[in-house]
């Protein structure tokens, strides 16, 4: 039993505990952040009684949820019913292994970090399917299948956008991606079209915003989570909010320059620079604010519109984007400038033409349907 091994195991356990702690804290902060921001955007104050300006509200909610009865339906598969909410957190926790929080601080500097992220996001689908099945409820099952279909469909545009980032950064390692965005050449400025594709796909992956059909209370009760109550439901719930932060962290790392910002070397303790950490958090929470803002402003997509949007719009555009980026990288003389020009043109074309094309297509569809007199 070598000392090396024991130390490695201890480090592993500590890292996992820290990751879980970050996930929980992020989830709790997000919940109260969202409630207050939603309140402010809706001309009202959010919950501001518990603790200073209401920041202890989610802690109170978490305690309340933990005190609820541990209840499982009689016909439910008890093992799977308990396993699903536990498994669902794994996605959020495991991604943190590769994210560079600040200069010189990554848990594991995997040189295939991007693929790792993709692999972990595909893990959540499994736990949702299990959750829907284990409830022994037809409607939960249908909800779980719909959720799984949505998440699987939107993984593809996400991966296609990630590939473009990898091409532009020249490596799959997240540290290399952050480094490639030095001197404020963030990918959101040089590749805005890819950023838009990735952002839309990530919002759909999170089951948030206009893509939250699986958990829309008005339509499916709670979809796959119908039979869950108390802390089991709390786990699904926390995972969704933690996912907001985690996905924002990924987006910031890939497109918004990670921890880069002014005064990077101002405050360094034990080799860990603290000012970039602040920039990182600021950017992450700006993105979380945008997620909450979108959720409030955009009406929900129907399930067929959802799937149609993924397969008929985002995936072809993602593929075309890859082809065009590859062409630019291979043949254009100043590839950075050429890529920026192409990407901005693509963004303007997409945003400008989307409405017209959609209206045209709907008109054609309506004309094809026979009018019954």
């Amino acid at each position: 039993m070598s000392w090396d091994l024991v130390l490695a195991v201890v480090r592993l356990i500590v890292a996992v505990l820290i990751a879980y702690a970050i996930v929980f804290v992020a989830a709790l902060v997000n919940i109260v952040f969202e409630r207050r921001v939603l309140g402010f955007l809706q001309d009202r104050l959010g919950p501001n009684r518990t603790g200073w300006q209401g920041i202890l509200q989610s802690v109170a909610d978490a305690f309340k949820m933990m005190g609820k009865e541990d209840f499982a339906p009689t016909a439910a598969d008890k093992t799977m019913f308990t396993l699903a909410p536990i498994m669902v957190m794994i996605g959020a926790v495991a991604i943190q292994v590769v994210i560079p929080y600040t200069k010189g601080w990554t848990d594991q500097n995997l040189n295939v970090g991007l693929i790792y992220i993709v692999a972990i996001t595909s893990f959540t689908v499994l736990s949702i399917l299990l959750g829907g099945w284990a409830s022994h409820n037809k409607y939960s099952l249908v909800g779980a299948l719909r959720t799984a279909a949505q998440m699987v469909s939107y993984e593809l545009p996400m991966i296609l956008a990630l590939l473009v980032v990898a091409m532009a950064a020249g490596s799959l390692s997240l540290n290399a991606v952050v480094a490639a965005q030095g001197s404020y050449r963030w990918f959101v400025f040089t590749m805005p079209f890819t950023f838009l594709l990735f952002f839309i796909a990530s919002v759909a992956e999170l089951n948030r915003g206009p893509f939250d059909l699986p958990e829309s209370e008005s339509e499916l009760v709670a979809g796959y989570g119908t039979e869950y109550s108390g802390m089991r439901f709390g786990m699904f719930f926390l995972n969704e909010y933690a996912g907001m932060t985690i996905m924002s962290m990924v987006t910031v790392t890939l497109f918004l320059g990670g921890w880069q910002g002014p005064f990077a070397n101002a405050l360094v303790i034990h080799g860990v620079a603290l000012v970039p950490l602040v920039w990182f958090l600021v950017k992450v929470y700006a993105l979380v604010f945008v997620l909450v803002w979108i959720r409030l402003s955009v009406p929900r997509l129907q399930v067929d519109q959802l799937m149609g949007f993924a397969w008929k719009v985002l995936i072809p555009l993602g593929l075309v984007n890859i082809l065009a980026t590859a062409a630019v990288l291979l043949w254009a003389p100043h590839w950075k400038l050429a890529m920026a020009v192409y990407s901005w043109l693509a963004l303007i074309a997409f945003v400008g033409l989307f409405d017209t094309l959609l209206r045209w297509r709907l008109k054609r569809q309506r004309r094809r349907v026979a009018v019954l007199t």
Partner: protein
């Protein structure tokens, strides 16, 4: 896509606006003079008396059921004729003996039945539902008076004024209707001098129409009270029945 951005811009525009909600109870919104959201007994400045008429509708309609109206009102309901007439009738009714209500209240306390059962028991004791009895029920059960009236007025079996000695029910079910029940009803109405649903002035007869009473082979059917059924009725038979009942009343004096 552009529409989404426009929607987002609209939403963001709400961020700097003044918020509608206030930090209650530290801050309160100033309500206009005549607003009716506030619970208080309004005093008429002219007479220094409360304006409340104890109709208990507030008690019925309160969504959180926090209002209880305890009243001994010396005011009559405002001048809607129907209400005034009902009140006159109620006042002219003999004061019911509320001691008789005790077994009904006990039954309620033991088994917590619905209001229908309580009212049916009450009607069995008094023959109708006197207002003082309903008030007593309201006090004892905690259900507001207007809700009790809601149940009582909805169902045909409950009478809010005393019935006559003989309750004549003319069946208007399908078979009886086809066999000429309207003529029977008209004959009764003509003979007794009251309309369906009313009681004669001498408190002998109450005329009412009923749904199908059952013995359709004997259509048209008339039932007197609870147990006396006359089949194959004719208008002449109706008049004869009234005469016989009058005679019976004379004899049983």
């Amino acid at each position: 896509m552009l529409g989404i951005f426009k929607a987002m811009r609209v939403t963001l525009g709400h961020l700097p606006r003044r918020k509608i909600t206030v930090q209650y109870p530290e801050q309160r919104e100033h309500l206009p003079e005549r607003s009716r959201g506030l619970f208080r007994v309004v005093i008429d400045p002219a007479t220094d008396d409360p304006r409340c008429r104890a109709c208990t509708l507030c008690e019925t309609n309160c969504p959180v059921q926090v209002i209880r109206v305890n009243y001994e009102s010396r005011y009559r309901l405002p001048a809607v004729n129907e209400a005034r007439i009902q009140r006159v009738r109620a006042d002219s009714q003999p004061r019911p003996d509320l001691e008789l209500l005790a077994p009904v209240i006990d039954h309620y306390r033991e088994t917590a039945p619905g209001m229908m059962a309580v009212l049916r028991n009450t009607q069995e004791i008094y023959g109708y539902l006197p207002r003082p009895a309903l008030q007593e029920i309201s006090v004892e059960t905690g259900v507001s008076l207007s809700q009790i009236y809601g149940v009582a007025s909805f169902d045909d079996q409950f009478r809010l004024s005393p019935a006559g000695r003989f309750v004549i029910s003319v069946c208007h079910g399908t078979a009886c209707h086809v066999a000429g029940a309207p003529l029977i009803s008209a004959a009764f109405a003509d003979e007794l001098g009251v309309e369906a649903g009313q009681t004669t002035k001498d408190r002998l007869f109450t005329l009412q129409t009923a749904g199908c009473l059952g013995p359709c082979a004997l259509a048209p059917v008339v039932r007197v009270g609870d147990d006396e059924t006359h089949g194959r009725m004719t208008p002449d038979g109706a008049r004869a029945l009234v005469a016989e009942l009058r005679h019976r009343a004379q004899v049983d004096r």
